[in-house]
C-alpha cells in the first residue's frame, strides 16, 4: 500500500490533494463571507438591493467545492462536506430570493399627479394621525412596511 505521503506523488504531481483542501476552504470562506457580508452591510442600499449577489456567491462556492471533490486524492470527506454546505446554501438562498421573498407585482391605487386616499390612523401613543392634516403644510413620505424590514 502506498503511504499517504507517497500517494501525493501521483501523475497529477505533488500539489493535487493540497489544492483540494485549499479549494474546499475557499469554498467555505466564500459562502460564509457572502452571508456575513450581506447581513452586516444591509444598511447600504447597494448591497441590500442586490440580494442576487449572495446567490451568485453561493454558486461560486458550490463550483469551488465541486472542483475540490474532483481534485481530492485523500480525505475526500472534507471536499464533500464543503460541497454539501455550499450547495445547501445555494438551494436555500436561490429559493428565498426568487420564490420566498417575491411580492406580487399587481397595480396599486397610487398614481403620480393624484391624491391618494385620505386616512386617519393611531400613532404609537394612540393619537390619531390624518393625512389631510399635512395638506398645505408639509410634504409627506409614506412608508408601508411589515415586521422588522
Amino acid at each position: 500500500m502506498l503511504s499517504s505521503r507517497a500517494s501525493r506523488l501521483d501523475d497529477r504531481g505533488y500539489h493535487a490533494p493540497v489544492t483540494s483542501g485549499r479549494l474546499a476552504l475557499l469554498s467555505v470562506l466564500t459562502a460564509v463571507g457572502a452571508v456575513a457580508g450581506y447581513t452586516s452591510l444591509l444598511r447600504i442600499a447597494m448591497v441590500r438591493n442586490h440580494p442576487e449577489g449572495y446567490v451568485i456567491a453561493f454558486a461560486l462556492a458550490t463550483a469551488l467545492a465541486t472542483l475540490a471533490v474532483a481534485r481530492a486524492r485523500s480525505r475526500r470527506w472534507i471536499a464533500w462536506l464543503a460541497l454539501g454546505f455550499s450547495s445547501l446554501l445555494l438551494v436555500a438562498g436561490a429559493w428565498f430570493n426568487f420564490v420566498g421573498a417575491r411580492v406580487p407585482d399587481t397595480p396599486s391605487a397610487l398614481r403620480v399627479g393624484e391624491r391618494p386616499p385620505d386616512f386617519t390612523l393611531p400613532d404609537a401613543s394612540g393619537r390619531p394621525v390624518s393625512l389631510a392634516d399635512y395638506r398645505g403644510r408639509k410634504p409627506v413620505v409614506l412608508v408601508f412596511y411589515r415586521g422588522y424590514w
Binding site: 442600499a45 441590500r48 396599486s108 391618494p116 394621525v129 393625512l131 409614506l142 411589515r146
Partner: protein
C-alpha cells in the same frame, strides 16, 4: 427598518423639520417607535391593524404572511405639500427597498 434608518440618517435636521415621514404597518408599533427614538429619527409610526388603509391603497399581498395572513406590500410614496403623489415605489422583492438617495432626490426637488 433598514430603509427607514437609511432615510433618517441622510435627512438633515432642517429637512426633517420640513418633511413628515409616516411609517404604516399592521403591527403594533410601540417597539418601532422606541427603535426610532433610540435612533433619533423623527418618524410617526401609525398602525393599520386590519389593513383597511393598506387595502384602499392597493398594497395588500394576499396570504403573503408566514401564517397565510394578508400582509402589506412594502412601498414608499412621496407626497408634496398639496398632498399629491409625486413619486412612489412598490417592492417586488421583500429584501429590496428604494435607495434613500432616490427618495431624497424627489423630496429635495419638491
Amino acid at each position: 427598518m433598514a430603509e427607514l434608518q437609511g432615510l433618517g440618517a441622510q435627512l438633515s435636521e432642517a429637512e426633517r423639520a420640513g418633511v413628515e415621514i409616516v411609517a404604516i404597518s399592521p403591527d403594533s408599533n410601540e417597539h418601532s417607535q422606541k427603535v426610532a427614538e433610540a435612533l433619533r429619527v423623527g418618524y410617526r409610526f401609525v398602525a393599520d391593524h386590519d389593513l383597511a388603509v393598506t387595502r384602499r391603497y392597493g398594497l395588500v399581498h394576499a396570504h403573503g404572511g408566514a401564517d397565510g395572513q394578508d400582509v402589506p406590500r412594502p412601498a414608499t410614496v412621496v407626497l408634496d405639500r398639496d398632498g399629491v403623489v409625486r413619486w412612489f415605489s412598490v417592492s417586488r422583492n421583500l429584501q429590496v427597498r428604494p435607495d434613500p438617495n432616490d427618495v431624497l432626490r424627489v423630496v429635495r426637488g419638491l
